[in-house]
């Protein structure tokens, strides 16, 4: 299960990377990045997963005393939350950028934005 998730995660990352490298359209690139981000998040979750354990929420079901043996590693889950937030931030920023770029040149092709080079 965990391996499947991890494999899927990596597959998503590769798909995202492939998409970001092959699509010329800015919006498609952003979509590709979100796919890759999702893949990363999946990988993180998969790393933290331990077979047969429960969610790391200490409440009635799991007491603080036996948490160590019963819950899965909470840290990756915490990390993933942060990563998602950051991913959203970056995606939003990229979209804002795309908007500005489109306003300027009415084009979404990345090849049109090579004024700076060398």
């Amino acid at each position: 299960m965990a391996h499947l998730a991890m494999a899927t995660g990596f597959l998503l990352i590769l798909i995202g990377a492939w998409g970001a490298l092959t699509n010329r359209n800015l919006l498609r690139m952003i979509v590709a990045f979100t796919i890759a981000d999702t893949g990363v998040n999946l990988v993180i979750i998969a790393v933290g997963y331990m077979r047969g354990r429960t969610a790391p929420i200490i409440d009635g079901a799991v007491s603080a005393a036996d948490a160590v043996t019963r819950i899965i590693d909470p840290v990756p889950q915490a990390l993933v939350l942060t990563a998602i937030v950051i991913g959203v931030g970056v995606t939003a920023l990229m979209l804002a950028y795309t908007y500005r770029l489109f306003e300027k040149k009415r084009s979404l092709d990345i090849r049109d934005y090579t004024d700076l080079k060398g």
């Binding site: 990352i13 995202g16 990377a17 970001a20 490298l21 010329r24 800015l26 690139m29 990045f33 890759a36 981000d37 990363v40 990988v43 993180i44 790393v47 933290g48 840290v75 990756p76 990390l79 942060t82 990563a83 950051i86 931030g89 970056v90 920023l93 990229m94 950028y97 795309t98 500005r100 770029l101 300027k104 990345i110 090849r111 934005y113 090579t114 004024d115 700076l116 080079k117 060398g118």
Partner: protein, 1043 residues
């Protein structure tokens, strides 16, 4: 206050800014500045505490728990220094960007504060995931700050940056999570305890991702676009602060990775350093160039991080010195670039009307190039020594090569600034000036601090506390004064310093001291002829003289090298003052720095071979043994010979000496060249004969010197430009002097000294008189002159005496040199090089005659019929030189006798005998007084006789010549001067093919072509850059596995 407040203040003020009304822009700005000030103050407070008490770093536990259960921050002396640097850069940039920030409003300010906070966070945090978060914050903040620019292209640059950042963050995250998986902790120190070998791939991903944030070559196209297009205030942060923070992050990761990852850092670093510097060569856009330079500098520091296995406790001193110099200078330059309207490098010429801004620029460039007295200099010195001590000479060579490239484009830029024309006006408001000059002050303060550190740590010398340098720098403070006043102060200072110290020199050094100080003072008399304030002249000249006198006063290699660099830089500024001197000054500084780097490498290598001592005394050179010794000898000798313009590395000299100002040429020719000779003296005194691959190195030196003498003289005879002729003649004369040294016997050295003295006197005199003529006629082309003898009689006399002396004809002092030469070669066991020198001797007559004939004799041209004698102050030193030459011709013993005795300690055999006025050697004898009297009597009698028999001679004019019974057409067609030695060119012209020029031209051409080809990979396409990045990662991994 706890360091946590740095983060807290940053976040808090960003929130406050977010809550402000859209129109409360000024309030927002005040809050921003206040926040940044508080952050700086906290950092400064900690820095002072740590620096003063030497306390251990403090850990701050955020959730009140120990790691790994909570994030912890650490504040130590390094962290406090770096956060201070970052927040100060932020504060000054905020001041600098005031208008832009206020115009964009509170959001922009919040983003700025967040950026600085995040950068400080990177420095402070000890948690790897926290590091990632701060990184992402920086990415987002950078994305926001890029939009501050007025440049529309910045948007696309920002987007490219975001694309690559996405890839980086993916790698970083995956790396972190697997590292966590392997170690069970996110704490850096926790990971470090376990070592990275267990999760090498994960570590590699993290490591390469963080390194990618340093924009390693060649995966850095996106960053350059940011550098080029964003607001310079932000570029300053991007370069100085971001670079600093990320470097520290790399350092932390290396803590995890351990020593086995050092080579990766070194490899990436050095490739980046050399590659980025190479690519910077063809740049014409100032900010992009600075971007490349930033990347290169971070690459260098990365290299240093990778060398920490051998640097030990000096690692912080070196990395810190380089980092601070880079950060301060680069931020300063970015701020400065805002004052220049257009983006061409040549547009910086607009600054030249503002001496203070020029001074700022010079400070920054000197810091970047690691020139004394700035921190980079001390760091470079220690780095070279550390590398050499461990035998990492290839790394040292690459670093020095990269540094030379960097100096190349920076000094070329400085040349543009000084020599090009610009009609743009520079408007410098207070908000723009404050950051720049804050950086300047910071630079000098850091120079002082590093000097002090070098004293306490290594027992080196704080250059900013040495009297000659302080004297030179003090001229910066009196730049407002008129030139004559400064000139008087300069002369007074030099003479006074000589009087104060003359008892301290041994006879050999005394001769050099007299030439440097008293000789320099005499040369400076000519400077009275200049009018106005002459801004920039005196600090440069005094810097040169300070360097020279420090050179002979020092006893250790550090002082020697520092002095060498000082005199190089000072003379470079002097040479650059000439009208057309821009390319020549550049080639001068490049050859000189190249030579200086060789010297550095030589000293470093030498120091590696002797038992560790606080400083490396020059006398210790004698203790070196093979296999190190010959290499040290080669490095130092070649280094010194770049200054004496030995053949092959001579091509800088003619232009530099010819294009320099009238009173500068005698300084750089008559005096400066002697520094190289002094170096060779020191080298040979200590090391003597060395063998490499069975070749006696002094014999190689003999050949080089002889060829230099021959080719220098040969090239001199084909010059049309009078000062160039003299310059080539200097090359030849230096060849003689080096030859004397390389003979390695008593008289050889005495001859070299004789040449030192003679060459100073007559070359200074000739340069002054030819310079004076050029000043009056407005041209240096000799064939355009002619017949000036009656109009400029004193200059003629000086030239006449000069050429007789140079040619070695008795009774003047040049003969003494020749006589000693013949006696010296009698004892030498090598004979073939003498053949070349014999050929070189008479060739001197050719160019000397050409010099005096084409200028002073022959036909007077119409437009010069009314020229006057050169100005009094230019003639006066010439007349002093004439007197000196006469005195020295008749009584050479004044100078030579004591030296002759002194040389006995090196070569007890073969000294001269001094009985009465007669000078004897083992082979011959010579009586200068008798010679002078006899020749004067014969000459006088014959002159009297001629005046008696020819008392009625009719004085005629220039066209009263027998012209095959025709009348000459015009003076221009009658003055035989152009291509004067055409038959000689036919016979031996093939010897003066400019092979050396072609060689160096090809090398620079290849570098530029290579850089241009490399530039094509920087297509400007964000996807391509992303591809570069992935490729970089893959290649780095492949190489890593291959290890």
């Amino acid at each position: 206050m706890s360091a946590l407040y740095i983060i807290a203040v940053g976040l808090g003020s960003a929130f406050v800014l977010g809550m402000l009304n859209e129109r409360q822009k000024n309030l927002g700005y005040v809050i921003t500045l206040a926040a940044l000030t508080v952050m700086s103050a906290i950092s400064a407070q900690w820095l002072i505490i740590f620096a003063a008490t030497g306390a251990h770093p403090i850990d701050i536990f955020t959730a009140g728990t120990q790691p790994p259960f909570a994030i912890n921050l650490r504040m130590g002396v390094i962290e406090s220094a770096l956060t201070l640097l970052i927040s100060l850069t932020g504060l000054l940039s905020a001041i600098h960007m005031g208008n832009a920030l206020v115009a964009r409003g509170r959001r922009a300010m919040a983003v700025l504060v967040i950026a600085i906070m995040a950068l400080c966070g990177i420095v402070l945090t000890r948690d790897i995931f926290n590091l990632f978060v701060f990184f992402e914050l920086i990415v987002i903040a950078t994305g926001g700050m890029v939009l501050l620019s007025d440049d529309e292209r910045a948007v696309s640059a920002g987007f490219k940056y975001l694309i690559v950042s996405q890839f980086i963050s993916v790698l970083l995250l995956i790396g972190i999570i697997f590292a966590y998986h392997a170690t069970g902790t996110l704490n850096i120190d926790g990971m470090a305890e376990q070592g990275a070998s267990a999760f090498a791939l994960a570590f590699f991903l993290m490591f390469i991702a963080v390194i990618a944030e340093l924009k390693p070559f060649p995966a850095n196209g996106w960053a350059l676009d940011i550098y080029e297009s964003s607001h310079p205030g932000f570029s300053a942060i991007f370069s100085a602060a971001t670079g600093t923070a990320v470097l520290f992050a790399v350092d932390k990761l290396l803590l995890i990775g351990g020593a086995e990852w050092f080579p990766v850092a070194s490899g990436v670093g050095i490739v980046t350093f050399v590659g980025a510097n190479l690519l910077a060569l063809p740049q014409t856009n100032d900010r992009r160039l600075l971007g490349y330079s930033s990347i290169a500098q971070t690459g260098l520091i990365l290299t240093v991080l990778g060398q920490q296995d051998i640097l030990g406790q000096n690692y912080l001193f070196i990395a810190g010195g380089l980092l601070l110099a880079h950060a301060v200078a680069k931020a300063g330059l970015y701020w400065l670039s805002d004052l220049v309207a257009s983006r061409q490098l040549t547009a910086w010429a607009a600054l030249k009307e503002r001496p203070l801004l020029v001074f700022a620029f010079v400070t920054f460039v000197a810091m970047l190039c690691g020139l004394p007295p700035f921190p980079g200099f001390y760091a470079k010195w220690e780095l070279a020594h550390a590398l050499a001590a461990e035998g990492r000479m290839a790394m040292l060579a690459l670093i020095l090569f990269g540094a030379l490239l960097e100096a190349g484009y920076l000094f070329r830029w400085f040349g543009y600034l000084i020599k090009r024309e610009s009609d743009e006006k520079v408007v410098c408001s207070a908000t723009q000036a404050i950051p720049v000059f804050a950086a300047v002050i910071a630079g000098w303060v850091l120079g002082f601090v590093w000097g002090e550190l070098s004293v306490t740590r290594f027992g080196l010398n704080n250059l900013l506390l040495t009297l000659p340098l302080l004297f030179a720098l003090s001229f910066l403070l009196i730049e407002w004064a008129p030139a004559w006043l400064k000139n008087t102060v300069a002369i007074g200072g030099m003479v006074a310093f000589f009087v104060m110290t003359y008892a301290e020199y041994d006879p050999l050094r005394l001769i050099f001291a007299v030439i440097f100080l008293i000789g320099g003072a005499i040369t400076l008399l000519a400077s009275y002829s200049a009018h106005g304030r002459r801004v920039g002249f005196y600090p440069a000249a005094m810097l040169m003289y300070a360097g020279m006198i420090m050179l002979i006063r020092t006893t250790d290699s550090f002082g020697f090298f520092a002095a060498w660099e000082l005199l190089t830089v000072g003379s470079y500024f002097l040479i650059l003052r000439g009208k057309e001197s821009e390319p020549h000054a550049l080639s001068y500084i490049l050859f000189s720095l190249g030579g200086a780097f060789l010297i550095l490498a030589g000293f470093a290598l030498a120091a590696s071979a002797v038992p560790p001592a606080p400083t490396f005394s020059l006398a210790n050179l004698a203790a070196l043994t093979a296999p190190v010794a010959p290499w040290v000898f080669v490095l130092l000798a070649v280094g010194f010979m770049t200054k004496t313009a030995a053949i092959g590395v001579h091509i800088w000299l003619p232009g530099a000496h010819a294009e320099a100002e009238t009173d500068v040429s005698p300084m750089v020719s008559g005096i400066l060249l002697k520094a190289g000779l002094y170096g060779l003296f020191v080298l040979l005194m200590a090391m003597g004969k060395q063998q490499l691959f069975g070749i006696e190195l002094t014999h190689a030196l003999l050949w080089i010197a002889a060829l230099t003498a021959l080719l220098g003289n040969l090239m001199a005879i084909f010059q049309e430009d009078g000062k160039r002729l003299l310059a080539y003649s200097s090359i030849g004369q230096m060849g003689y002097a080096v030859f004397g040294l390389a003979l390695m016997n008593h008289l050889g050295w005495l001859m070299a000294l004789m040449f030192v003295i003679n060459h100073y006197i007559y070359k200074a005199m000739l340069f002054l008189s030819v310079g004076g003529v050029a000043k009056r006629t407005g041209t240096r082309d000799m064939y355009k002159m002619g017949g000036l003898i009656t109009l400029m009689p004193l200059s003629f006399i000086a030239t006449l005496i000069g050429i007789i002396a140079v040619s070695g004809v008795p009774p003047l002092s040049g003969f003494g040199g020749r006589w000693i030469f013949y006696n010296a070669i009698m004892t030498s066991d090598v004979r073939m090089p003498m053949v070349i020198l014999f050929l070189a001797g008479p060739i001197a007559f050719l160019y000397l005659f050409r010099l005096i004939y084409t200028i002073f004799l022959g036909q007077l041209k119409d437009e010069f019929r009314r020229v006057k004698e050169a100005p009094f102050w230019i003639v006066l030193p010439q007349m002093i030189y004439v007197a000196l030459l006469m005195i020295f011709a008749v009584f050479p013993g004044i100078a030579l006798r004591r030296v002759d005795e002194y040389l006995n300690q090196f070569f007890p055999e073969g000294g001269l005998g001094w009985s009465g006025n007669e000078i004897t050697s083992a082979y011959g004898y010579w009586n200068p007084v008798s010679i002078m009297i006899i020749i004067c009597v014969i000459f006088g009698v014959l002159l009297a006789w001629l005046m008696f028999v020819d008392r009625k001679a009719q004085k005629v004019k220039q066209f009263n010549i027998v012209f095959s019974a025709e009348a000459p057409y015009r003076p221009e067609t009658t003055h035989f001067a152009w291509n004067f030695f055409a038959p000689y060119r036919k016979a031996l012209g093939f010897l003066v093919l400019p092979l050396a020029t072609m060689f160096w031209g090809t090398i620079t051409g290849l570098l530029h072509t290579g850089a241009d080809i490399a530039r094509r990979f920087y297509t400007g396409n964000g996807q391509t850059y992303a591809f570069h990045f992935l490729l970089f990662v893959i290649v780095a991994y492949a190489i890593r596995i291959g290890f």
